[in-house]
């Protein structure tokens, strides 16, 4: 859908200018994706961005045969595996960067419970294109895949000359390119998951990504939702918690919001203090059935 819209003087006081607006909506990665592009740039860039997201879906999904399931098949039986898919290899590099940033709390491996989780047991030979693990395990990229996909889409849009765009994957994974079309940062608010009319936190983003993880809120307890699992102890996170992370990339934001969710209080505090105002964890007291409850942030 393409439309040329005119931004008036209105509330912003900006000069009147025609702002070209395009949007691409589609289903991928088990959710709905919206890519909103404002301003000029290559008119075909949006469709290329969509293809970039679909390519990530094809590479990382574990819900149908994919490069990810191919390596899982080998790793789960204790064998090394070739990585022929460049997207999968690049995503694994993203995991490697996110793991130390989150103090090892973001770990997309499953099947290993122990002091370190599964990721440290993985060795990747990028030149040879092989992956191995010292114990049987498998990968479930989960929300990380959505953030990573938005990063890839953002790269495509930037290469096409985009300067202002809002990318959204299921409302819990957001990436913005450049400034708001009317200038300045993108203003966002995250609603309270149990009282959506209330705002949990207000944020402003520019060339950044936002990820929200939660154990409460609409759909959080539907039967098809996979629970959040603490990587080291293997326990399911049951506390009523919502986390919000703003990072430079979608992949990093996803990793951080997950880490904040599974972190103990001390670790959450350390992670929060490392990026004041950009990392939030809200613990809801009184059980999930209460609609209006107090929230506390680590900030």
């Amino acid at each position: 859908m393409v439309g040329r819209v005119r931004a008036g003087l209105g509330d912003t006081g900006l000069s009147c200018a025609a702002i070209e607006a395009r949007v691409e909506r589609f289903a991928a990665m088990g959710t709905r994706i919206e890519l909103h592009l404002f301003g000029g740039g290559d008119p075909d860039a949006l469709s290329r961005a969509r293809h970039a997201i679909e390519a990530v879906d094809d590479a990382l999904t574990i819900h149908r045969p994919s490069p990810a399931t191919a390596i899982n098949h080998c790793l789960a039986s204790g064998r090394s595996a070739p990585i022929d898919d460049p997207i999968l290899l690049d995503a694994l590099a993203g995991v490697a960067a996110a793991w130390p940033m989150t103090e090892g709390l973001f770990d997309p491996t499953v099947g290993v419970v122990g002091e370190t989780g599964g990721w440290p047991l993985v060795t990747i030979d990028r030149r040879a294109g092989r992956i191995a693990a010292s114990r049987p395990l498998a990968f479930d990229f989960g929300g990380f895949g959505k953030g990573y996909a938005l990063d890839r889409a953002g790269d495509v849009l930037r290469a096409g000359g985009a300067t202002s765009a809002f990318l959204c994957a299921g409302e819990s994974s957001i990436a913005v390119l450049g400034a708001h079309p009317l200038g300045g940062k993108w203003p966002l608010t995250v609603p309270h998951p149990l009282a959506p009319e209330e705002t949990l936190v207000a944020l402003e983003l520019e060339d950044e990504a936002l990820s929200i993880s939660s154990t409460v809120g609409a759909g959080a307890h539907a039967p098809w939702r996979a629970p959040m699992v603490r990587p080291i102890v293997g326990a399911i996170v049951t506390a009523a918690t919502t986390t919000v992370a703003v990072e430079r990339s979608g992949a990093a934001a996803e990793a951080m919001s997950t880490a904040l969710l599974v972190a103990d209080a001390a670790a959450a505090g350390r992670l929060g203090r490392a990026a004041p105002g950009r990392r939030h964890r809200f613990l809801f007291a009184g059980g999930m059935s209460e609609s209006r409850i107090s929230a506390g942030s680590i900030r």
Binding site: G10, G170, E171, V190, P193, P196, T199
Partner: protein
């Protein structure tokens, strides 16, 4: 499905004509062109109906609506059924309690077989041997061998054999097939079909009688394959039709899970029919839950057709996120408002709940058209093209499914079938 016997016949035929006029339809439904033709000659084809139970009497009502067939004789050994049928036909219509007597009495051009499944072959073969044409209810016969024998018998005697599969004449199904052939729902890779009922499937038996196996023949293995031959065969015909091919193998599981009342046939069946290129038909039928009723969900890459509901659903992109739609409006209006995000949309893919679009038609009765087509086939001595092939393979598929469930083995499509 509501039967509307007063529905305008011409309108009905026009709809069949419209539905069967698409690209590829001449090959997919060649019988419709013949069935729609104006009847030749003025003499009605005289039919003798063997079996006047519920189904037989429904067939009689349809025959009486045709322009080219008449009920010349009725036959049933069970007096209550015969009496009910006698009330439907003109006074003086010949009645018999034995099918041989009806055949030997002459005075008919063809028989209509609506008897228990295990008798289909015998009644059909006897009629063919006597030089009569045969219209037989589905499924064809109790065994694969008998299904083949009915065809070879009809062929060798130059007689018409037609099997009752009314969906082949149903305008909604024909229109659905036309739209599928036109590519509207993309490549069809799966059909999910079900026939779910919540009833014991038993007919009342007069107290003190020993007629249980006569009246409740569907519940006993010697007489019927139960849900497979009485219900599934309709839907397996639809599956083969829309898949434009035959299964390569079938796997299944059957059980008597609810009605543990002495019946011998399964009250729960679940099967997978494999087709070429990885395509599948997934079938289930049961007798203690009617929530999902009777339907074939024909699933393509671009959409889904549900012919019993008469609906077509297109695969569509998900709706827009309200907050982002508002963001776009704000930008248009020159407003820079906060974008609430991360709200109540933490969900993955959900079942489509959109109403879809109508396939076009609601009420009709296609069984009548079957008989008009049969009448023309009898008059010309040439069967309606393509029909017997559809019926034969549907019956084979249903009986093969029974074998797969009984043996708990995947059963390959047989190689030695009669060529139709």
């Amino acid at each position: 499905m509501t039967k509307d016997f007063t529905f305008s016949r011409r309108t009905f035929l026009d709809r069949v004509l419209t539905a069967s006029a698409g690209a590829g339809m001449a090959a997919a439904a060649p019988w419709t062109a013949v069935a729609q033709a104006e009847p030749i000659g003025s003499d009605s084809v005289r039919l003798g109906v063997i079996g006047t139970g519920d189904r037989g009497r429904a067939l009689i009502q349809n025959i009486l609506k045709t322009r080219n067939c008449t009920v010349a004789a009725i036959c049933d050994p069970y007096a209550p059924h015969l009496d009910k049928a006698r009330a439907l036909v003109p006074a003086g219509t010949a009645t018999f309690t034995d099918h041989r007597a009806m055949i030997d009495a002459r005075g008919i051009d063809a028989v209509v077989v609506a008897t228990p499944l295990d008798l289909h072959a015998r009644h059909s073969l006897d009629a063919l041997d006597a030089g009569l044409h045969v219209w037989c209810e589905k499924a064809m016969a109790r065994t694969i061998k008998d299904c083949g024998a009915m065809i070879t018998h009809a062929r060798s005697r130059g007689k018409v054999l037609q099997i009752g599969h009314q969906r082949l004449f149903n305008p909604t199904y024909l229109n659905a097939l036309k739209r599928a052939k036109a590519g509207e729902i993309g490549e069809i890779t799966q059909i999910r079909a079900s026939w779910h009922r919540n009833r014991n499937w038993r007919r009342p038996v007069p107290p003190g009688s020993n007629l249980d196996r006569e009246l409740n023949w569907r519940l006993y293995r010697a007489r019927s394959a139960g849900l497979m031959t009485e219900l599934a065969t309709h839907q397996l015909q639809v599956a083969n039709w829309f898949m434009d091919g035959l299964p390569t193998r079938v796997m299944g599981s059957g059980s008597i899970a609810f009605w543990k009342d002495g019946r011998e046939v399964y009250d729960h069946v679940a099967l997978i029919y494999d087709y070429s290129d990885g395509r599948k038909t997934i079938y289930s039928s049961l007798l203690n839950n009617a929530r999902y009723g009777c339907e074939e969900q024909i699933q393509g890459s671009k959409g889904t057709i549900e012919p019993e509901l008469g609906r077509i659903y297109m695969e569509t992109a998900p709706g827009s996120v309200p907050a982002l739609a508002r963001m776009r409006k704000d930008v248009q209006a020159g407003r820079k408002g906060a974008i609430p995000i991360g709200g109540a949309t933490w969900f993955p893919e959900l079942p489509v709940t959109t109403p879809g679009d109508s396939l076009g038609w609601g009420e009709y009765d296609e069984t009548m058209l079957q008989f008009e087509g049969f009448g023309e086939a009898v008059r010309s001595g040439r069967e309606l093209p393509g029909l017997l092939r559809q019926a034969y393979y549907a019956s084979i598929a249903s009986l093969l499914g029974e074998q797969a469930m009984d043996t708990q083995q995947a059963i390959a499509w047989p190689s030695g079938l009669v060529q139709v």
